[in-house]
Symmetry: C2
């Protein structure tokens, strides 16, 4: 599609099978263009009533009894819904609770404990900071080597990138599925197989892939995964994170924070920690009930939309943005910091510009909210449920005017 | 007061300076007697509007911008309010985030790392399970000895109870301020001094004391503390927990879960974890914004009530319950499993009875909700803001009828 043609973008919206989902979110203003759903997803209208119900009815009316009429099952119930609809995970392998960083720590530590003779953790130098920090902390505490592979920014990590780093001394390979800056998609299945063939475990951070592309955890044989629920899953600010532990590992792996919500007979208050043999052993303390309920609302919308349609639209939106970049922005000094091949790209696109920070501020003043990452990167998150093709067109049109 | 006199209880309610606070909570039914606020506190009416505001306005309207107009400061803002009003902690030492178990783990691990040559952790055999499990996990991972002192159930832990267990090999003394079963109050200042005189650090779990009695963290010289916010603080199910790190320790202690919310320049996304030198280094991942807001509403009510009045009423309510026990229940086969001396008692009272579980169920059917702890313990949580003297009288009156 020629970037000059706004009507063409409008036609794509008319035939968009997900178009009606925009009406199921709250909008600050009808002309608002929000391209930061990869940082904080928008508010589903259903979450308003659900929050009120959980607070007023479940907490306010049922009080302590609500634990026994649903709350105790909620981390796994939301996890199962998410796992089946969006992660390719059969039930009983996903729970929702704690922050992404805490979950990453729990699973990484569990993996290291399961490979006691191995002294190397492999990750990527450009991986998301909190993940790298967690791994660095674990490596420092245990005297392990943290080996960080370098990678080309606009192609996802491949088996070839990792092959030289993974060997019989590797305990854990821990990476992001979709790069938080470039949206480059790593070879999740291939790298998982590489790790396993070396006797290591594979841990994936799905924060930028869950809800935007097929993950296929079971099919790829992934060992462990975590992810954020306040981005594309629309769970709200600081919403509890999800974790996945492959069924075959659950009875053997043990996470380091021994808490009563993982205990076999929680209310027996027994003297010895004896964790349940299923995914609940990766719970720790009392899960955040209100946050969990809002994650459920967000995931329900995505499940209803269907992963195939979400992925098709993510490709359509990001491709339009790249077209606009080629036609309008490349000549103005912008750079494309995301993959050109839509198959290797998640649901956001990053553009570099020396005046990126100023342009971000000017875009906000002009009704468009992108993300900015230092030093020079405008990151446009194109959440398929809330972004129209004309939004992409209009945002890029304003950007070329501001930069021109 | 003679237990037979309901009018006497009613008079105490009439002169109760906290009586009006009942009207600031939501009630499932006006005759409902909820004596389980030590498990899950009731819903403040203000939390309903606040939840709606955070969801609809802050998340729904401001979206990502809300992080920069308040959310980033929220863990410390709520922590400072709580610290000053209820914990005796000057600002800059308390943050709210994560679950109580996760916070306990973070601070216990930080303390152990700060005392590397010492091989013993001291706690109590009867301490709350999740705390014991956390310590057992840390001790197992590090090859330390977990030394659990025995104690009389209905007197709080004293320096004498601990003296034989704490010595120059002790890294950490970790205990609950108020016992979760008996409400016995430990000698927080004395045991802290004992630990420190041996060169150890003291970590206190305030889950059953915060909001019901003076804690005086700064005055007692406490090193570290955590506590639950969904009990007496009325923060809602699974509300985020608080942690306290004495100012003098903040730059030196380092918790094990290295996350981006503790990073000095969080959005620089730098290669090396370099935590801020203040209490924010004990944050990990993205804090749960909605949960935090509701904790703030609960704490505001308690701050307005004032700790002196809260404590006076807790003593009055629990003393009335003990009087009823003496007059009515002791002859029916009940036992008192809480301290007789109100100075040594928190805000709940436990009674034992061989048919405790059945009596709990019958009380619930008769409009009274207590807690039950296996094998035989009815636990009556008398939250000062939501419990009247006549509620105590009526609950005990129904209990004697059911057991008679």
């Amino acid at each position: 599609m020629p970037a000059a043609d706004r009507a063409g973008a409008g036609k794509l919206d008319v035939s968009d099978p997900l178009a009606a989902f925009r009406g199921r979110f709250e909008w600050p203003d009808p002309s608002f263009i929000y391209l930061d759903g990869n940082s904080l997803g928008m508010l589903p209208t259903a979450a308003l009533a659900r929050a009120q119900h959980v607070v007023a009815q479940e907490w306010g009316q049922r009080l302590i009894q609500a634990w026994y009429t649903g709350w105790l099952r909620q981390p796994a119930r939301v996890g199962d819904l998410l796992g089946e609809a969006l992660l390719g995970a059969a039930p009983g392998q996903v729970v929702v609770a704690d922050s992404t960083t805490v979950n990453y720590y729990k699973l990484a530590a569990a993996a290291l404990d399961a490979r006691p003779g191995r002294r190397v953790v492999v990750s990527a130098a450009a991986d998301f900071p909190t993940d790298r920090y967690v791994l660095a902390g674990l490596a420092a505490a245990r005297g392990l080597e943290l080996r960080l592979v370098e990678s080309a920014e606009t192609t996802g990590l491949t088996v070839a990138d990792l092959a030289g780093a993974v060997d019989e001394r590797t305990a854990l390979v821990a990476l992001s599925h979709v790069d938080y800056r470039s949206a480059a998609v790593a070879d999740l299945a291939g790298i998982t197989a590489l790790a396993q063939s070396a006797g290591a475990l594979a841990l994936w951070d799905l924060s930028h892939s869950a809800g935007t592309l097929p993950v296929g955890l079971d099919e790829a044989g992934v060992d462990l995964a975590v992810g954020c629920s306040y981005k594309y899953l629309n769970g709200g600010p600081g919403a509890p994170s999800f974790l996945y532990v492959r069924a075959v590992h659950q009875a053997a792996l043990r996470q380091p924070i021994w808490g009563w919500f993982g205990q076999r007979d929680q209310f027996d208050m027994g003297p010895v920690y004896d964790p349940v043999p299923d995914v609940h052993r990766f719970l720790v303390g009392t899960p955040p009930i209100l946050g969990l309920a809002l994650v459920e609302e967000g995931v329900r919308l995505l499940a209803e939309a269907g992963l195939g349609r979400l992925r098709a639209k993510a490709i359509g939106l990001t491709s339009l943005l790249v077209d606009c970049y080629d036609d309008w922005l490349a000549p103005l000094g912008f750079g494309l910091a995301s993959p050109r091949d839509p198959a290797g790209r998640g649901s956001h696109v990053s553009l570099t510009h020396p005046d990126g920070q100023r342009l971000r501020e000017e875009l906000v003043r002009n009704g468009v909210v992108p993300d900015f990452r230092r030093p020079d990167r405008l990151r446009f998150g194109l959440a398929p449920l809330t972004t129209r093709y004309v939004d992409v067109w209009d945002a890029m049109d304003r950007l070329r005017t501001l930069a021109g």
